[in-house]
């Protein structure tokens, strides 16, 4: 069993720590760093509740080892809000009532963020495909799609893009 010292930039801030090789990234985020916005759902990379961005790409953090994140840049749901201002995705989820229990919401927003970075003006079908790795058991997805459309539109208006969010329409 090996222990590794890792340095990871998360939401723009450098974190360091010693991790066992077998520690999963999501457990390190939640249990060691207390970044509990990232949820654990299915534990088997099916549900997407634990989705975060690793070097700009959406990844299920239950299926990556913490040690694999060494030297990489992560964005978790805690990094969406900037200076007390909600990210357009968070605003969209609020305005469009895109959550009920809220369990899937952080992962859903991170998957949506990755989608909008790649495709700033997605069709409804593209949104549905983009979030097809993220399960919601409450909403039926209709309002989630609307929330992402809301955010997409807001992000396309450059003056509305929050600085340094790591996301958006760049």
């Amino acid at each position: 069993m090996s222990i590794h010292h890792i340095r990871v930039t998360i939401n723009g801030k450098l974190y360091e720590g010693d991790v066992e090789a077998r520690t999963l990234l999501v457990h390190w985020l939640r249990d060691s760093l207390r970044l509990t916005g990232t949820h654990i759902g299915c534990d088997t990379s099916s549900c997407g509740a634990c989705t975060i961005l690793v070097d700009g790409k959406a990844v299920k953090s239950c299926t990556m080892l913490a040690v694999q994140a060494d030297g990489r840049e992560l964005l978790t749901v805690e990094g969406l809000e900037q200076n007390g201002k909600l990210h357009p995705l968070q605003e969209g989820f609020h305005v469009e009532h895109a959550l009920q229990c809220g369990y899937c919401t952080p992962g859903m927003m991170m998957a949506a963020l990755a989608l909008l970075k790649r495709n700033p003006d997605p069709s409804e079908q593209e949104i549905r495909e983009g979030i097809s790795g993220n399960l919601c058991r409450c909403t039926g997805y209709v309002n989630i799609v609307k929330a992402i459309q809301y955010a997409a539109q807001k992000l396309r208006e450059p003056e509305q893009v929050p600085a340094g969010s790591g996301g958006g329409g760049e």
Partner: protein, 292 residues
């Protein structure tokens, strides 16, 4: 669910990865995208003493055509295969395959090489590569060797002919000819699930429209990925008319070895193999003759 303890080593180069594999032998497992391996570790279905992480080997991530062959680096992420213009334009069967593997978030990290080397009969690339007649490059201490895909999987699930000190480094696919085409069709209950059944078909026609090459691979209807050899034989020399396609589809269904499980009874899966083979061959024919 937390994996059992293991040592973790990052390979900084292919040579280093092979040296680590050579040192640890069968106690080591290669960690690529990890979307099959990490769940296995968590369920304690695998307990390697050492993981050799190859994710930093960026020189194994490429998609390029050279000398009549498509070269895919083993660490190529599924998302890059799916998004590649070259693949969409020249190898639509590979685009068909990439876009139905797991889900978009998984595809950001999952790799083509891992999908093959894991040798899960439910994985999608094995059938496609069997249909295409791909060759795999295994790199070991003594250098590289080429393994034809039909000799890559063994008679057991989750087993390949790679030696413990060999790394799958590249997948080679013959470039399309003027009249060739293929398709991969997967029947799945929902996004992210394994196939109820999947069929890959690839054909090459001569100038007169006769079949000079036929490849048919089956997903998740047996203990291993299945190459439907007898069905392929039926197609050779034919003009790929509807009657011979129907005959080959029946034969492919006969070559499937499905078992009844939560995804359906064996009879149903066999029937689906027939239907999917028929559709895949028709689409392959359409693509081989200039259609979509």
């Amino acid at each position: 669910m937390i994996p059992g303890p293991f040592d973790y080593q990052v390979a900084g180069s292919v040579a280093e990865a092979i040296a680590l594999l050579d040192q640890h032998g069968a106690d080591a497992k290669v960690l690529a995208g990890g979307h099959s391996l990490i769940p296995l570790l968590r369920f304690r279905l695998a307990s390697p003493a050492v993981l050799v992480d190859i994710n930093r080997l960026r020189d194994l991530e490429y998609i390029q055509e050279a000398d009549g062959t498509l070269h895919i680096g083993a660490l190529t992420r599924e998302v890059d295969l799916e998004a590649s213009d070259l693949i969409r334009r020249r190898y639509p069967i590979l685009a068909d395959t990439a876009r139905v593997i797991a889900d978009p978030v998984v595809r950001n990290w999952a790799t083509v090489g891992g999908n093959l080397a894991h040798a899960d009969p439910a994985n999608d690339h094995p059938a496609t590569m069997l249909a295409l007649g791909a060759q795999l490059v295994a790199t070991g201490p003594a250098g590289q060797r080429l393994i034809p895909i039909e000799h890559f999987f063994t008679d057991s699930s989750f087993e390949t002919t790679l030696q413990p000190n060999e790394l799958l480094t590249e997948i080679r696919v013959p470039a399309p000819s003027e009249r060739s085409g293929g398709a991969y069709l997967k029947l799945e209950r929902k996004v992210g699930d394994y196939a109820i059944a999947g069929v890959a078909a690839y054909v090459v026609l001569d100038g007169a429209g006769h079949v000079t090459y036929a490849g048919i691979g089956l997903t998740n209807v047996g203990p291993t990925p299945i190459k439907a050899r007898a069905a392929e034989q039926l197609l050779l020399g034919s003009t790929l008319d509807d009657a011979v396609i129907a005959q080959a589809a029946r034969q492919a269904a006969a070559e499937a070895q499905p078992v009844s499980d939560l995804r359906g009874p064996a009879d149903y899966k066999r029937a689906m193999v027939e239907t999917l083979t028929m559709r895949a061959l028709r689409q392959a024919r359409s693509r081989a003759t200039g259609g979509a």
